[in-house]
């Protein structure tokens, strides 16, 4: 009980305080550079047309944009640290490409690229926050750490990442299906297109993989 009183008085608005103290300020909204829209669109088209090098040039552009979108989100919604992968990818997509010039295949390809990148970004972010907590949380007193899984909360991304790696070893396609569906928000049809398999296959993979992962994470 005495320990619980140690933090008294200094915490009028702890959530804001904490988020304010965290994260290096990057470019603010007004100062942001315009994303290389045309470039990305062209690269996608070139890649679809068979230009393998186009993909390599595409990746860093997409990655940067995804990170920017993610960090921007974190800064503006600090109290619950919402990171919704689908929303982030969509936002990046809208910023990066010329919608009118995108074919359905191009769009699917773009999201397929995003899936792996998004996964990476989320895992990195989660790791970073974790170490920040361990290091800098001295003022706060833990009462019931993490007692509040809420309806909205998703899985622990770091654990999910590890489980996906394990699944990839056993069945690479299933791991990829989850990546596309969860991290890029592709529909079953889009996933089927991206992977060149039938929608039935995707449905079955998806059904089994998420049950398997769920169980894996529940262990």
């Amino acid at each position: 009980m005495t320990e619980r009183h140690t933090g008294l008085g200094a915490h009028g608005a702890p959530a804001r305080e904490r988020s304010g103290a965290k994260g290096s300020p990057r470019a603010t909204e007004p100062g942001r550079a315009e994303p290389p829209v045309n470039n990305v669109t062209q690269l996608l088209a070139a890649w679809t047309a068979g230009d393998a090098g186009a993909r390599d040039r595409l990746l860093p552009l997409v990655y940067d944009e995804l990170r920017r979108v993610a960090q921007n989100r974190l800064r503006h919604e600090p109290s619950n640290h919402t990171l919704q992968p689908t929303a982030l990818v969509n936002e990046a997509y809208l910023r990066l490409v010329e919608i009118k010039r995108m074919s359905w295949q191009n769009r699917t390809q773009f999201f397929a690229i995003c899936a792996r990148l998004m996964r990476q970004i989320l895992v990195d972010a989660a790791r970073a926050r974790r170490s920040a907590k361990r290091g800098g949380g001295a003022v706060r007193v833990t009462v019931d750490e993490g007692l509040l899984p809420s309806r909205e909360s998703g899985p622990d991304v770091v654990l999910l990442d590890a489980a996906l790696n394990a699944l990839e070893e056993l069945d690479a396609r299933k791991s990829r299906v989850v990546e596309l569906r969860f991290f890029a928000g592709l529909s079953v049809e889009e996933t089927a297109l991206a992977l060149g398999v039938s929608t039935d296959t995707v449905s079955r993979d998806w059904k089994f993989a998420r049950t398997w992962l769920y169980q894996e994470l529940a262990r």
């Binding site: 990171l83 689908t86 007692l147 909360s153």
Partner: protein, 864 residues
């Protein structure tokens, strides 16, 4: 296992998983057992996946947000603050849902408890809005078993709730110390149920009923905590004092809601919950209180969740009847389907209170009188069926026509053994009601009884009973609610023609009944006579539920027709009457019992002049109470026939009974006795066949037709009918008895003796069969044995009643006409029922030409 083997393994697991996923639980187990063979590990893997599959359904759904956990709370930050009129004194408890402080209300000078939400929640306008709304709702819940909420507000951005300050501990603390006395456990449960009932009345669902949320004050009063607050968080209900087993790690994936182990299956699945979800939580608490362990406890949370979805709580030892009953109640609350549970907390409280009272009194004591109107519900169903049938019966198309129907025994969904009788009784009443429609042949109760909980396909049942349609359904009685579900199915095609469920409070049923009665009269006139329609509408009457149960038991024991069973039956009917002195049907049952005891044809253990006046008085009383009761007219008719020898009066009463209920097999059966006795043999056989047609599986109706053939001297038909009866029920004594009599008439004396002895053995204590064996000895030339039987009977008659008619028969068989007539005169004075068959009993042939015989027939008044 190398990587390839592991990949192969996963493929195998996946294949089995997909194959099993589409199967029902039962099929699944069988399939996996078969497919996995001895590979238990494989089977476990697949089963584990299948068990979490429902939970994984929303897992990783694209578009779901990834939300970090809310920031931790700083404990005790409010101590020393002035919050409105309150001065915060100290921290009482702290947890993820907030902190609880002791504070003083400066206006009233009383100490209160103040619960403060985490700031992260307080910043969320929607959450706070709901919090306040729910907290106000809880504040409106002025109930001694619910924590009283005084106030809500915000302070420096933090929402708080002020409630009464209690001295005591949670039920969890109490349970952790060890088992409770059953009485205390049930007492706590009753209080919880009362609190929940009050909340449910206001439309508030707690959604997190568990020992941690039940507070017991030092003076033993139960208070339910966390109302409203529970609802606020939409199920993320982890409270201040979560016990380790209920705690979820933040890393647990998926949307786990509520407290593991007390969540209802629908909560586990993330489906909408209503108050029946609280009933489940209550059941889990009750189970734990009485059994001393959790209803669902497994090694991991995933296993626990799976257990909630799929497993029954383990049976628990119960030292006392009260504990056993409380566990029954708990099991009922823990049904997987919300529909199968108790539907209201109030009923729960009543049921448990009753049990506690029973435990105290040692016998069943009616704590209160609730009058329910089962008849009214029945009328509703009958009306619906009749309205449906009216169209069909009238329909010109032959193929859709329903001319015959069987009402299968309603399944009793209530767990109490008493309710089995109710289900049986309601089935019978339903049959009785429908049987009143002349255009319909309704198979009677005894014939459908064998289909209780049957697995047979309806098509087969339809064929066996030779009916066009089948009614099946279920009944549940909980406190003052009755729910009956019924459906009408065409037997030949399995086509569901009509289905309806009635779940009514007593008051609603009354209102509904009037409404439906009117619509019956309106709708059914096409095919029913106005009289029939009116009678149906008038059928509903108030019945005390306890009296009703006693009545149904009485009928059950009467059917068995042994001396002991009929005496038990009398006791039940008397108790029913004691409960409900205006219960006409119970008087009619009583009448039938005395008829059985007084007539040698039946049990014959009492002198007619002792038993039958009682029977008549009861029948008349029944008719005074309800002149439209077919059963009572039938009882009276049988007494008039066999005792009063009032032939025209009996005929009138039989006709009245059959007019009131043309489907009453018992009335056809007894009426055929009158027709036979008066020599109208063909009519008699027709009535006996009609009775059998209505009640094909009843041994009594079967054996009666055989007896009828015997007295009609159609011995081959008699033999084949009795053989059928024996085939149907090899232990039915009456059938062997009567077959013995048939063999005797055919002079197959060895067969006769074998069957009579078998009959006597099965009908232990029936002296009439013993006398008939004496008659067989007489006619088969074994005169010494016959004399011995006579001597035995005479000696026995000093101890118990033996009809002199039986002794007369033996003398007649021996050719002793004078002795026979002496005995017949004695039988006349006894008013023996068997005298009405003077003209048809083949065994009297040797003395039939004597003028004394004609004189006797004249005095008995048998019409020519």
């Amino acid at each position: 296992m190398n990587a390839d083997a592991r990949r192969e393994r996963l493929r195998r697991v996946e294949a089995l998983y997909h194959a099993a996923a589409g199967l029902s639980a039962a099929e699944r187990a069988a399939y996996l057992a078969d497919a996995c063979g001895s590979d238990v590990q494989l089977r476990h893997e697949v089963e584990a996946l299948l068990s979490v599959a429902p939970d994984a359904e929303r897992f990783l759904e694209p578009g779901l947000e990834v939300v970090e956990q809310p920031p931790r709370i700083m404990t005790g930050w409010l101590v020393g603050h002035h919050v409105g009129p309150y001065v915060v004194k100290a921290v009482l408890a702290a947890g993820g849902m907030g902190e609880v402080y002791r504070a003083t209300d400066t206006r009233l000078g009383r100490d209160v408890a103040m619960k403060v939400l985490p700031l992260a929640f307080s910043a969320d306008a929607e959450r706070v809005g709901r919090f306040e709304q729910e907290a106000r709702a809880a504040a409106g819940l002025n109930h001694p078993n619910i924590l009283a909420v005084f106030d809500v507000g915000t302070h420096e951005g933090a929402s708080y709730l002020v409630s009464e300050l209690l001295d005591g501990e949670t039920l969890r603390d109490i349970l952790d110390r060890g088992p409770l006395p059953v009485r205390a456990a049930i007492d706590y449960a009753i209080q919880i149920a009362h609190g929940l009932a009050a909340a449910h009345d206001k439309g508030i669902v707690h959604r997190d009923v568990k020992p941690e949320n039940v507070f017991v004050t030092t003076d033993g009063r139960v208070k339910i905590l966390d109302f409203g607050v529970a609802k606020l968080s939409e199920g993320s209900l982890l409270p201040a004092e979560s016990a380790p087993a209920t705690r979820l790690a933040s890393t647990t994936p998926g949307a786990l809601i509520g407290t593991i182990g007390y969540m209802s299956p629908e909560q586990v699945r993330g489906q909408p919950v209503d108050r029946r979800s609280d009933i489940f939580g209550f059941g889990a608490v009750l189970y734990e209180l009485v059994a001393g362990r959790r209803a669902f406890e497994r090694q991991t949370s995933a296993d626990t969740l799976s257990a909630i979805l799929h497993d029954e709580p383990p049976p628990a030892a119960s030292d006392t009847p009260a504990a056993a009953r409380a566990l029954q109640v708990a099991h009922r609350c823990l049904e997987k389907s919300p529909h199968a549970r108790f539907q209201s907390a109030r009923d729960l409280a009543l049921v448990l209170s009753d049990d506690l009272a029973d435990a105290d009194a040692g016998t069943r004591v009616a704590a209160r009188r609730r009058r329910i109107v089962i008849g009214a519900v029945l009328s509703v169903i009958c009306a619906a069926l009749i309205v449906w049938l009216a169209g069909r019966v009238a329909a010109p198309s032959g193929s859709t026509r329903i001319r015959s129907i069987a009402v299968l025994p309603l399944e009793n969904l209530s767990r109490g053994p008493d309710d089995d009788y109710v289900a049986a009784g309601v089935t019978e009443a339903l049959i009785t009601d429908l049987a009143k429609i002349r255009a319909l042949r309704v198979v009677s109760r005894t014939s459908v009884l064998r289909y209780t909980r049957t697995e047979k396909p309806l098509r087969q049942i339809g064929k066996e009973l030779d009916v066009d349609a089948v009614v099946e359904g279920s009944i549940e009685r909980v406190g003052n609610r009755v729910r009956i579900s019924a459906k009408l199915i065409r037997a030949s095609t399995d086509e569901h023609l009509w289905a309806q469920s009635y779940d009514r409070d007593v008051r609603d049923v009354l209102m509904l009944q009037e409404e439906v009665a009117r619509s019956i009269v309106k709708e059914v006139r096409v095919t029913l006579t106005p009289d029939e329609a009116a009678r149906l509408a008038a059928h509903a009457r108030e019945v005390d539920p306890d009296a009703y149960q006693l009545y149904v038991r009485g009928r059950y024991f009467w059917d068995r027709r042994t001396e002991d069973s009929v005496k038990r039956s009398i006791d039940y009917f008397n108790r029913a009457i004691q409960k409900d002195p205006a219960y006409a049907a119970a008087y009619s049952g009583l009448a039938d019992c005395y008829l059985s005891l007084g007539f040698s044809f039946d049990v014959g253990s009492l002198p007619p002049n002792e038993a039958i006046p009682k029977a008549k008085a009861a029948a008349l009383k029944a008719l005074a109470l309800d002149d439209s009761l077919a059963e009572a007219h039938n009882s009276l008719a049988y007494a008039k026939l066999n005792y009063d020898w009032d032939w025209s009066g009996a005929e009138d009463s039989f006709r009245r009974s059959l007019e009131l209920n043309p489907g009453y097999a018992q009335a056809h059966h007894w009426y055929s006795h009158l027709l036979l006795a008066t020599g109208r043999v063909d009519d008699s056989l027709a009535e006996a066949r009609r009775a059998l047609d209505l009640d094909q599986l009843s041994p009594i109706m079967n054996v009666h037709l055989g007896w009828n053939y015997l007295f009609a001297r159609q011995y081959d038909l008699a033999l084949s009918q009795l053989a059928k009866t024996i085939e149907f029920d090899p232990n039915y004594g009456l059938a062997y008895w009567y077959r013995g009599l048939v063999y005797e008439q055919q002079a197959r004396y060895d067969d006769a003796l074998r069957d009579l002895r078998k009959g006597a053995e099965l009908l232990k204590g029936n002296v009439v069969v013993a006398a008939d064996i004496g008659h067989l000895h007489a006619v088969s030339g074994n005169r010494r044995e016959a004399d011995r039987v006579i001597a035995e009977l005479r000696q026995m008659s000093t101890r118990r009643f033996i009809s002199s008619f039986e002794i007369a028969l033996i003398h007649a068989g021996l050719g002793h006409a004078d002795s026979a007539f002496d005995a017949l005169e004695q039988a006349y004075r006894e008013r023996s029922d068997l005298l009405v068959y003077l003209n048809v009993d083949p065994r009297l042939d040797p003395i039939r030409s004597d003028r004394r015989f004609d004189d006797l027939v004249r005095r008995v008044g048998i019409p020519r």
